[in-house]
Symmetry: C2
Subunit: 366 residues, 2 copies
């Protein structure tokens, strides 16, 4: 019996959207779900008590960052990442590959793995499928991602194909490195090329992964480029497993992908935008520093009120950002992450109740 | 009927410590009480919901900062500082004088007032007793402090006497500038000189202030220098009014001053120390970055546990500080401010129950 299972509960009558439920060693996760990003074992500025209050069941954390600090061997000695964060819900980690290729000083990449220098202290490290799965096992998370090669954007068809082939070469090595009961998700590559995505999905589906991700979609390309790729790539993934679109996205991007049959999302946008003074609302994104909020004692959007932020006025939040007070970043983060929690709850409801068109209408400007 | 009244409930049988109750337009404040410092209309990193959860009834905010940003005229248009912060408890503001003299580029100081340039944008401003009381009236706080002249440390007896004389000159001007119902506290100066303190206390007591502060004690001098000054200055203040020791201090300093008959305190130490990785505990101050906490899955001090911080281990909090995650500063701030809330609650209990010696024992290393 695999430690992570997916149950399909309903399909939207208007789109291919799936209402489902993941069961992990740490409980249930109602899908479609958004994972707040806790890069270094914390969603910036907010604690596990806040995530619980917002109703999250699953968060994402970053293998690259945690393996460098505090170190995965240490996290394992301390009882695992759940215990360290005191988080009773589920955790998914990425493989570390994307950060190695984007943040670190990458020294060499070949079929064996990737050699890199830490962005923290320049120390030398090695990441391979085996090592990535080992680190994620040490962290003790519920869902591990396989190490893939994610080509940069833009890239030629040849580069996309080569990255895909290495991802395929690595796939069984990821699986072979699993601990007893460790759930690992496969990643489908192939860039913007339908035939490559098809080939990649077929190869991955033939291997016993507990879930499948669409990789290489959110790596710097314009948002509108993603849509056709998601549209043809999502239905290629096995129906009986959970489907995860990595690194996506704005509310509109998530709505589109859910409509294509995707179940899981993660993205730094709500937290990063919050720290940069931008709130998501049903009326579109709002810059809290805008002069129009200077003496506005109401909320930015009366239809987007989330505790404990909703007690504060737009004027107060603008003041906090102007005064560079960290409470401003905290409140904005709580607002945006709550906005995403509500978005996903309403997506799940709309699939169940057959009210997808009304939902799309409601989020048309978000 | 003055808007702020003080009721003396009990006197400690072991010391001169007073158990009392302030009544303000925003409710009751059990004393002795510590006021967390919300310099710019927020206690750094924590919201009104956190202050409520910790049981605070009174906070301090800074006239100098708020008058420059967002501006006291604006705060008044917005309904006052309580409404801006959404804080239902009481607020006391300082006069702004101390910050003008320590933070700004002070241009000229004479009997009329003080001309200075803002530390934010270099703009020119003027502060006088009348203007300070006007600003505090615009902020709409429960208790305003009179503008005094606070001499630097160290200073000669002559300098202390001159500052005291200007403070006396300004005292009635502060009172004359009050709005209907605005409660103003007088400040006793006189440095380390008993006769000057006596003279100052007498002059101030002759004026209809709603409370009295011991000024010029915490302005850079070593902590042990404060004790004799507090010891002879506190009993000089009117018994029927609340007594406030400005800018003090560590738990030991507060215990000493309460024993001398002081009722109110404010200090940036618990919040500033927290941001600099130092926690107050019953076992003394703790540096959360110390290597000994690296794999310590328990708390720093099992006798100092405060929600929501108490769910996290010393190892996690060290990791957050190492990784420069703002959750670390928030949790440390909540810990220290909670430590002070408990200290004051236990002080009030000890006075009521006659258990001061046990209390002193308990906090001997704090």
């Amino acid at each position: 019996m695999p430690s992570v299972t997916y149950e399909l509960l309903a399909i939207c009558p208007h789109t291919g959207a799936r209402r489902g439920r993941l069961t992990t060693p740490h409980g249930k996760v109602e899908t479609p779900a958004f994972m707040p990003v806790g890069t270094q074992g914390t969603v910036k500025g907010i604690g596990s008590e806040d995530l619980e209050a917002m109703g999250f069941e699953l968060v994402l954390s970053n293998t690259y960052h945690l393996s460098l600090r505090p170190g995965s061997e240490r996290v394992e000695r301390l009882g695992g990442l759940h215990k360290l964060m005191d988080w009773a819900g589920s955790i998914l980690t990425d493989s570390g590959g994307y950060q190695v290729m984007s943040l670190s000083d990458m020294r060499r990449l070949n079929d064996e793995g990737v050699w890199f220098k830490s962005h923290l202290d320049g120390s030398e490290h090695f990441l391979s499928p085996e090592r990535s799965i080992e680190i994620q096992g040490q962290l003790g998370v519920d869902m591990s991602m396989c190490l893939d090669e994610c080509p940069p954007y833009p890239c030629t068809r040849e580069e996309a194909a080569r990255a895909m082939q290495r991802t395929h070469l690595w796939a069984p090595r990821n699986l072979a490195a699993r601990r007893e009961g460790q759930a690992v998700f496969g990643i489908v590559q192939g860039g913007v090329h339908e035939d490559l995505r098809q080939e990649s999905a077929q190869l991955m589906a033939s291997l016993p992964f507990e879930g499948y991700a669409i990789g290489g979609v959110s790596v710097g390309e314009p948002t509108e480029m993603q849509y056709p790729v998601v549209k043809f790539a999502a239905p290629l993934l096995p129906k009986e497993k959970v489907r995860y679109l990595m690194g996506v996205g704005h509310p509109q991007d998530i709505l589109h992908a859910v409509g294509c049959g995707v179940d899981l999302f993660d993205c730094v946008l709500p937290t990063r935008m919050a720290r940069h003074a931008t709130l998501y609302t049903l009326n579109g994104r709002v810059n809290v520093l805008n002069k129009k909020w200077e003496e506005h004692m109401g909320p930015h959007d009366p239809a987007s009120l989330f505790p404990p932020v909703d007690r504060y006025s737009a004027a107060y939040i603008r003041h906090l950002f102007k005064a560079k007070e960290m409470l401003g970043q905290r409140l904005a983060t709580l607002h945006n992450v709550s906005f995403y929690a509500r978005l996903m709850a309403e997506i799940r409801q709309a699939i169940e109740h057959g009210t997808w068109p009304e939902l799309q209408q409601r989020y048309a400007r978000a």
